[in-house]
């Protein structure tokens, strides 16, 4: 059967006989070419060594060389494009839920389109378009949301009727469809050839490519990459890029310092058939039928069809060598549900003859998003892997972002959702990965609804109060491995089970959260917020203060016992982190950041704090249980438990005191709640957690205390216009853009990171502005709920997207937060956004294609702040992401 899969699976021989290797040919297996001299010996050193010759490795090499880096070596253990890339189905689809992924796919599509012209290598690029089918109304809503995103990006896309589907594709059975989404510019490529084309272009730019060379070890000295060891010798290098695909996890662990790259392979099957009697046209649209869990594309007159089954088969959990990928078995019994779905979708294919069932492992990540970026522990060690079966769609864009990251220090987009540092060691257990990817792979086709929680790999990190809260009806979600309460189901009340609770409309917990919010406003609630990342930074002299003053934008030289909200900014003034810092003593600080900052913030500070043994930083996250007492009666509960005066005179807002609560001494009490409501955060050494919780609940009874969860917290913070890092704020957002100038002390007497950028913004104005929108004509019971990522329209023109939303029980309206930009009507150029520009517009929010009128506000409703404790300072901070 040699030559059978010429285009798709072209078996590529990479000839490198001459040292100035510049040529590639494509030929079939032949017996004559068995003796293959190894090309040039490896160079002794290079600036960059890329491991992996698949689509990712070649794309990174291509973009790095385009950006001017020439001293690059690409190593491939087998042959170029011989791994997953070789077997990949070759569908370039921009229909993505996450807008960053959508951008990557869009860039890839444009790149591949001109690649053949640029390199002379045939890529098989064919613009076919794609049709995503909806068998249910919910699915159609999901597609409409994507369509809204695509449209504002300028990617042609339309929602079409089943009849129109039949006109676009002759074989489809449409009787069970309610609609579809048509993206006419989606394309098909031969992924192996795209990879070869990228390699060709890269090598023309000076990149050296060596096949049959395996990396066995990555050398690290003083936390920096210094070189690699291969089976053909050593190469010294400054940068190492791990593009090893499904072997990236193992490669990450083969270095002097382990780099955790949480991904895991699953078997993935697709079917190839002989041509139809009347061969299918090569420009016939690709069909994606997520409800049937399958995709179908034309392939050499026949079809190629695969899917994402409900019961995936993870493999290589123990780690294996690459050779086994060639010998994976076809498993027809496993494929049966997908075959049934295929024949249901295209009944006329019954008589079509089978050519092969291809078993092509794909790697999946714990959150269904790919992994890129620099290792938090080893500088110069970059990773690009874990494509969740969309490698060819992301390849171009992902390679570009990583190249920018390496060359410029950061990509041109906020890539935090894909950043390797969103994971830590805790997501790297093989068991965890094995279990999680079995959930992730089916999710590829599952309906993506708001507030989805993973069900596997749970209960890893828990508060000491977990069992107590669980017994009281807590429902849990997970953040960075930590179990957090969503809300408490009152006794006797039943909620829908998991599958039925999936909705784009008003959820079944609406009233439950409403009553928790009410209690926060009128009495007092307890929320367990132990998941927050907590660092202690101290020094023998003034080193701690000096270093922090440089790394944070607010003035930290405050009296002992004060709490400061401040951003941790990068050179461009963007938020790398948003935190609260308490000055515990003259020389020690307690820093609280969002849960998923544990790895990123640590790496950021480690890399920037002076290497001084007198300055210590400790991660004390695990040492404290954090209880948030929210509500007007919190002060009463606390004063009864501590016998200490807690009136505003003694304990003003943004203060921190160590005090006793019940029998427990040394509880760190801070007068912040992260919601704008009055109350306190209690940081409790974990062994006292249960005692303090019990005391608080007992004492609180007479004040009407109750448990509450993060959904209530979110509703409270969003109605008060509190931005959260990771959700609303990112490395491309400055304090000036989100109304937090007051948290920046430009004149604090010393230089700090991002200062210049902020000064410039202060003079020239900002190009986007964080804005609050109140939905006006939205019916909470009947209409689709906003989520995040909804396009914002000003006077009918697209100006930005929402970043978070919640129902405000006080306003009895939905509140969306988001950024407004100002594009020139003619050129599309970004202009300065002024207060007037915001205030003088008519706004609409597009939820799955339906637009709702919204009122824009730049400042929160002051009436919502019942107890303003300090006139001059409004507490504005928060940490959770939903």
């Amino acid at each position: 059967a040699a030559g059978m899969f010429l285009r798709l699976l072209s078996d590529v021989r990479w000839r490198a006989a001459n040292p100035k290797w510049r040529r590639m040919t494509c030929c079939q297996r032949s017996t004559s070419s068995t003796a293959e001299p190894h090309p040039v010996s490896l160079p002794a050193q290079a600036q960059v060594v890329i491991c992996g010759g698949g689509i990712m490795g070649t794309s990174v090499a291509y973009h790095l060389s385009k950006m001017g880096w020439k001293d690059i070596v690409l190593l491939e253990q087998g042959r170029l494009a011989a791994g997953t890339t070789r077997f990949c189905a070759g569908i370039v689809s921009t229909a993505r839920h996450v807008s960053l992924e959508l951008k990557m796919a869009n860039y890839s599509n444009k790149l591949y389109q001109q690649l053949e012209q640029e390199t002379g290598v045939q890529t098989g690029y064919t613009k076919t378009g794609s049709i995503s089918l909806a068998q249910t109304q919910d699915r159609l809503i999901s597609l409409k949301r994507i369509a809204s995103s695509l449209n504002v990006m300028g990617i042609p896309c339309e929602i079409i009727t089943p009849k129109q589907v039949a006109q676009l594709h002759p074989l489809i059975n449409i009787h069970d469809l309610v609609g579809a989404m048509y993206v006419p510019e989606d394309a098909l490529v031969s992924s192996a050839n795209v990879s070869l084309a990228l390699a060709t272009a890269a090598s023309r730019n000076g990149v050296q490519i060596h096949e049959r060379t395996s990396v066995s070890h990555v050398s690290v000295q003083k936390g920096r990459v210094t070189g690699v060891e291969t089976d053909r010798g050593q190469i010294q290098c400054q940068y190492f890029v791990n593009c090893a695909g499904q072997w990236a996890y193992e490669l990450g662990h083969s270095g002097g310092e382990p780099v955790n790259i949480p991904l895991h392979a699953c078997e993935h099957f697709y079917l190839l058939t002989h041509p139809l009697k009347e061969p299918l046209a090569s420009n016939l649209p690709t069909i994606v039928d997520p409800d049937g869990r399958i995709y179908i594309r034309n392939w050499q007159g026949g079809i190629l069809s695969g899917g994402f089954e409900k019961n995936p088969k993870p493999l290589f959990t123990e780690g294996r060598n690459q050779l086994e990928i060639q010998n994976l078995q076809e498993d027809w019994d496993h494929f049966e549900p997908l075959l049934s779905a295929l024949l249901r979708r295209m009944p006329d294919l019954e008589a079509l003859q089978i050519m092969q069932l291809v078993n092509c492992p794909e790697s999946f990540t714990p959150d269904m998003r790919c992994i890129m970026g620099e290792s938090p522990t080893v500088r110069g060690y970059f990773v690009l892997a874990g494509m969740n079966s969309a490698g060819i769609s992301y390849g171009g864009g992902a390679g570009k972002y990583l190249a920018e990251w390496m060359v410029n220090g950061y990509p041109s987009e906020n890539v935090w959702p894909l950043d390797l540092k969103r994971f830590g060691t805790l997501q790297s257990s093989r068991t965890f990965l094995r279990h999680r990817v079995m959930e992730v792979m089916p999710l590829m086709c599952d309906l993506k609804v708001p507030r989805w929680d993973f069900q596997t790999g749970r209960q890893l990190r828990t508060s000491p109060l977990y069992d107590r809260l669980d017994a009281q009806g807590a429902r849990w979600m997970e953040k960075h491995g930590f179990e957090r309460v969503k809300y408490f189901v009152p006794p006797g009340k039943d909620l829908l089970d998991l599958d039925q609770s999936k909705t784009f409309y008003k959820p079944d917990w609406f009233d439950i959260v409403g009553s928790e919010v009410k209690c926060c406003k009128e009495a007092v609630c307890v929320i367990d917020m132990s998941s927050f990342t907590k660092f202690e930074i101290s020094s023998t002299g003034d080193q701690a203060l000096e270093s922090l003053q440089y790394l944070f934008s607010n003035d930290l030289d405050v009296p002992v016992g004060h709490v400061v909200h401040t951003g941790m900014l990068n050179e461009k003034g963007g938020y790398e982190n948003d935190c609260s810092i308490a000055r515990l003593s003259k020389r020690s600080f307690f820093m609280i950041s969002p849960t998923d900052q544990q790895v990123h913030c640590w790496a950021w500070l480690k890399n920037r704090l002076p290497d001084d043994s007198n300055l210590t930083m400790e991660d004390v996250t695990w040492k404290y249980t954090a209880l948030n007492l929210i509500g007007p009666r919190a002060v009463d509960v606390l004063s009864e438990l501590s016998y200490a005066p807690i009136t505003p005179e003694h304990f003003p807002s943004l203060f921190c005191k160590e005090m006793s609560v019940g029998y427990a001494n040394g509880i760190r009490v801070m007068s912040i709640t992260h919601t704008g409501e009055p109350g306190f955060m209690l940081y409790i050494p974990i062994e006292y957690a249960l005692h303090v919780y019990n005391e608080v609940m007992n004492m609180g009874q007479k004040y009407g205390i109750r448990n509450a969860g993060y959904y209530a917290l979110r509703s409270l913070r969003i109605e008060k216009f509190f931005a959260f890092w990771g959700q609303d704020l990112d490395a491309f957002t400055t304090p000036m853009e989100c109304g937090r100038e007051f948290q920046v002390k430009l004149e604090k007497g010393m230089h700090f990171l991002g200062q210049e950028a902020l000064l410039e913004q202060k003079q020239n104005g900002v190009y986007k502005r964080f804005t609050m929108f109140i939905l006006e004509d939205h019916d909470t019971d009947m209409d689709l709920w906003p989520w995040w990522g909804e396009p914002i329209f000003r006077n009918g023109r697209y100006v930005g997207k929402t970043t978070s939303s919640a129902y405000s029980y006080s306003l009895e309206r939905h509140v969306c937060l988001g950024f407004v930009q100002h594009f020139d009507e003619k050129t599309g150029e970004e202009l300065v956004v002024t207060t007037d520009f915001i205030n003088q517009g008519e706004y609409e929010i597009d939820i799955a294609g339906q637009r709702f009128q919204a009122k824009a506000k730049l400042y929160p409703f002051s009436s919502l702040f019942t107890h303003r404790r300090r006139k001059d300072e409004v507490e504005l901070s928060g940490y959770q992401r939903e």
Binding site: E330, W332, D333, A351, Q356
Partner: protein, 550 residues
């Protein structure tokens, strides 16, 4: 595909009349015809006789039994006929849960306990189950672990002319075997304990389903017979180590002898007196396995069967017979019977494939009608209770009855050394074997025990297969898999196939539902009692033992 035995009735087609419509017809109109028709027993062990002379006031038994006596083909015609009269034919279907509750009612599983996380026994455990066709069922089963010697005993017993003999054998035989295997010192110890009224060493640990009962009334009687046996063994004290084969043969013969003697001597208690007579006048076959390490002994008397499931190197399954049927199909057996009787009887010995034209198995427990002299039979019946006297069957002397005994309980014993590829043993009464070929039994159990993953994977290779063909094949394979998952018990799984298999060798729910919804009066025409024990072997232990012996 399973070859369908010719003797099996075709299933009533679509509209099966409800029994209520059917039986009045037979009762009222056909009795005389049925009685006058030549008898033919569909694979009954004993011809011409009510299988329940236990209830047996002769009037040829309750009407419901007539059906079973009737020639199947004619019977079937009757049903067709009867259907014509049925005014409102009703469909009679069982839902899958109902089917399962019938199939699983008698299932039992035993897992050999582990010590220190290890099972050092060559047996992992066993699954057993029974599906009645007779009411009450005439099959019995037993399983027990020998406590004073090593090894495990498992057996199936197929009764005929009632269940009394099978019941007695299922209660008693293993004790006889265990005692036969005991060393002299242990026998002495036990005897001394009984003598001095001390607690007895436990001999067997039974593994019983709640429905497997022991008769309380007869226990004293049975115990005394057993004690007499071991006392004789003590007196005999050969000093030699006990050979398992010999022990099995001795135990079988001794028990049959005791059954015979007890009936001759009688018992002052009238209930017991009647019981021992019923035991002796009914019969039972026995197929017993003794497993000790790699030594597997099968002792068989009659036409139940033991079969070994062997996994070949390529993963496929094959069957090895570990017993010979003692019936007319076995030439050696026919030869043996003829050898034991004068030449003059040669023609009358085996008629219509039956011993003396009556009995299907050529070896059996009980059945004193084929063992005692005519005088003895007459004497016992006459002095026996009225119930016995009223029963035509007991009075009836087999034709051409000249040189008794014609029947023996002596088993044929086969010894097999277990190998790692020997994965399981199936003991089953003929109810299973007449519906399924042993090769299919081996495959179905093998695939069940190893899980579905071992279903041979499909590879397209160079063949021309269309998507539609592949889809059909996969759907069918999935149906097979789902039927595997339905059962937690290998014996149940086998019964499901035995009763529900269609021509493709897959379980057809509709067929299963029809077969199981047959009223008890009809069931016996379509199937026999089925009793199955599936013993699963521990290949690791067997492999290790083998290596030690090498």
């Amino acid at each position: 595909a399973i070859p369908v035995r010719s003797s099996r009735l075709p299933l009533l087609s679509d509209a099966m009349p409800a029994p209520a419509h059917l039986f009045p017809l037979i009762r009222n109109c056909e009795i005389s015809r049925i009685c006058s028709t030549a008898c033919y027993c569909h694979h009954k062990h004993l011809c011409c006789l009510s299988s329940h002379f236990a209830h047996g006031h002769f009037r040829y038994a309750p009407q419901k039994k007539f059906a079973a006596l009737y020639r199947p083909k004619e019977n079937f015609n009757h049903f067709i006929h009867a259907r014509d009269y049925a005014s409102t034919p009703q469909r009679f279907y069982l839902t899958p849960p109902q089917v399962n509750s019938i199939l699983k009612a008698n299932e039992y599983s035993f897992k050999v306990p582990e010590f220190d996380g290890k099972n050092v026994s060559s047996v992992l455990g066993f699954d057993s189950n029974q599906l009645p066709a007779n009411a009450p069922i005439e099959d019995r089963r037993s399983a027990a672990t020998c406590l004073q010697t090593r090894g495990m005993l498992l057996g199936v017993f197929d009764g005929h002319a009632g269940c009394a003999c099978a019941q007695a054998v299922s209660e008693r035989l293993f004790y006889y075997i265990a005692v036969s295997l005991l060393p002299h010192e242990t026998l002495l110890e036990i005897e001394n304990a009984v003598e001095s009224g001390r607690a007895l060493l436990p001999i067997l640990q039974w593994h019983k389903h709640p429905n497997d009962y022991f008769s309380k009334e007869a226990s004293k009687l049975y115990f005394n017979s057993l004690r007499t046996y071991w006392q004789e063994l003590i007196d005999l004290n050969s000093g030699e180590t006990t050979d398992v084969k010999e022990a099995l043969i001795n135990a079988f013969k001794r028990l049959d002898n005791d059954i015979s003697l007890e009936a001759q001597v009688g018992d002052p208690n009238s209930f017991l007196n009647y019981l021992v007579l019923r035991v002796a006048f009914s019969g039972a076959t026995a197929c017993v396995a003794h497993v000790d390490g790699v030594d597997l002994h099968i002792a068989n008397t009659g036409d139940s069967r033991a079969m070994l499931g062997v996994q070949e190197e390529d993963g496929s399954w094959s069957a090895v017979n570990l017993s010979y049927d003692h019936n007319a199909q076995n030439e050696h057996e026919v030869e043996r019977v003829k050898m034991e009787h004068p030449k003059s009887e040669e023609k009358s010995l085996v008629k219509q494939d039956r011993l003396l034209g009556l009995l299907m198995p050529f070896r059996a427990f009980g059945d004193v009608k084929f063992k005692w002299s005519i005088e003895l039979q007459k004497r016992v019946v006459e002095s026996g209770p009225d119930q016995l006297n009223d029963n035509e069957y007991t009075k009836f002397i087999p034709p051409n009855y000249h040189t008794p005994p014609y029947l023996t309980a002596e088993p044929e014993v086969i010894h097999h050394k277990l190998r790692p590829q020997d994965k399981f043993l199936v003991l089953a009464t003929d109810g299973l074997w007449e519906t399924m070929h042993r090769q299919d039994v081996a495959r179905i159990v093998g695939e069940y025990l190893t899980g579905v993953h071992h279903q041979q994977p499909i590879a397209v290779g160079g063949y021309k297969v269309t998507l539609g063909q592949m889809h059909g094949l996969l759907t069918e394979r999935r149906a097979r898999i789902s039927s595997v998952f339905e059962d937690q018990n290998a014996a149940t799984h086998l019964i499901r196939h035995a009763v529900g298999n269609n021509e493709f060798g897959t379980v057809d729910h509709e067929r299963l539902s029809k077969m199981l919804s047959l009223p008890e009066e009809l069931a016996r025409m379509y199937r026999d009692d089925i009793t199955i024990i599936v013993v699963q072997f521990n290949s690791h232990v067997i492999g290790a033992c083998q290596n030690e012996e090498l």
